[in-house]
Symmetry: C2
Subunit: 258 residues, 2 copies
């Protein structure tokens, strides 16, 4: 089982869109996947047509008490895909966890029993856009980081900052083996020079860490969440589904030994 | 003098693009403006071609010690526009402030002397995408909130959450007069139904709070930050500059009594 944090402190770069669609595509290829929504916005939860409030489950209790993560797992309507929903209370967890002794490893401790006992191939953590407690907890809990990055300037600038934070977490001893395992280029727009310049720049600095598959900006990918459907259900034969299926294939190939 | 928080916990909705371009347009119309970059990403700072690290100034010290905000003010190359840069240390401030008694009103206290003595018309606070300490401090310090919202589904979902947080801050007594003064529709794309549906939905719920001026998605607005220029300098006669100039005019009309 591998725990993968899908993180980037820059907002709106496609973290949730990647977490949800990668999870759905992996599940359709018979990988057993748990998606954990760590964002108080709970966008990953609503993108699957679900709601944290309705389910009454989230990572809030496991982060602040002895409640177990296993009790928060909810089945989705898709085979091989489970979710721990997000909800607004997670915002309050940031302050409560900040005041605890082990404020960096609460999530890592809460997920340890799953690592030992759950028959899962992958756990994907959808992170909120921040350099706060929820994000650093995700980095301390994960085996690797997948960073979606928009083909835009601010997103490029942010890459060095997340690289810096990853080294800080690894060096602090909270998660010595942590590594930046993959970068995914999202919202690639063939019409603009900016997109190609950013891709070139990222490939120059990060080489093979950058996935070959790029996700284009498409109207359908922007629409799908409003119907509570992943792209392979909303528009199974379109540029968005083709890209995320190819991404899932590349992801499986990179984790073959896993 | 009015303190305006430009905030939305949803990431990538155009907070920084709006803060920087509204500030530059107001300054060009002879309003005296201070832009405060509260985001550890420091995008507003780099969008003006500056860097917090180089200047060695930010709101970090005033938030965690008795250092004054006035000492952090730096002139920009534009008349009537000053900045307090952002820098990565602000991420650390979240944890340090969370552990203090007055964790909600540190910023409000730090900005009080400016309110009494600085010859400014407007102070614009560019907020990070989060429901954490930096954002709640900005809401507690501001006279009003301006919420940029992308014409997309997740952004629409997020509007009820920020409305909820504003009421919590007002009801808590930290800032009883706080109100959601304006909503700005950003990245409007004439080509998609989603854009018009979101605009219709927002106008239905929030009526006149929504600015009449909408900001279209344009390639130049996406490119401008990589040159460290606001749009009125990068492409003075284009859809982006026309929209932000119109927005500044509408903003001034709405603050006439200010
Ligand atoms: N490839 C794409 N084509 C078109 N729209 C997209 C694409 N990927 C994401 N979007 C849209 O762009 C917006 C931002 O994407 P998303 O919410 O997934 O980013 P995020 O990084 O999770 O944001 P946050 O930082 O708020 O968590 C959303 O409205 C989403 O629907
Ligand atoms: N009207 C527009 N047209 C085209 N691109 C835009 C427009 N407004 C913003 N952008 C681009 O979209 C991205 C997101 O915008 P911006 O960074 O201003 O949002 P934000 O809400 O400040 O993000 P964060 O949540 O990370 O602080 C940036 O790369 C920016 O250059
Ligand atoms: Mg997200
Ligand atoms: Mg910003």
């Amino acid at each position: 089982m591998k725990i993968i944090a899908i993180a980037n402190q820059k907002g709106g770069v496609g973290k949730t869109t990647t977490a949800v669609n990668l999870a759905a595509c992996l599940a359709s290829k018979r990988k057993r996947v748990l998606l954990i929504d760590l964002d108080p916005q709970a966008n990953a939860t609503s993108a699957l047509g679900m709601s944290g409030e309705e389910e009454g489950k989230s990572m809030y209790q496991p982060l602040i008490s002895e409640a177990t993560a296993a009790d928060q797992i909810v089945a989705t309507r898709f085979d091989n895909l489970w979710i721990i929903p997000g909800d607004i209370n997670l915002a309050g967890a940031e302050i409560e966890v900040a005041r605890q002794e082990e404020h960096l490893t609460r999530l890592r401790t809460a997920l340890e029993p799953l690592r030992q006992g759950a028959p899962l191939d992958f756990v994907l953590l959808d992170c909120p856009p921040s350099l706060g407690i929820l994000m650093t907890n995700a980095l301390a809990a994960a085996d690797e980081i997948l960073v979606p990055i928009q083909c835009e300037y601010f997103a490029l600038e942010g890459l060095s900052k997340i690289d810096h934070v990853i080294h800080q977490i690894a060096d602090s001893g909270a998660n010595p083996g942590l590594r930046l395992a993959g970068i995914i280029m999202t919202m690639f727009d063939v019409r603009t020079n900016l997109s190609s310049q950013v891709v070139e720049e990222v490939r120059k600095h990060f080489g093979d860490t950058v996935y070959k598959t790029m996700v284009p900006r498409t109207v359908r990918l922007g629409e799908a969440p409003s119907f509570g459907k992943p792209i392979i259900e909303y528009e199974p034969v379109g540029a968005g589904a083709i890209a995320y299926n190819a991404l899932a294939k590349e992801f499986i190939a990179r984790h073959r030994e896993g």
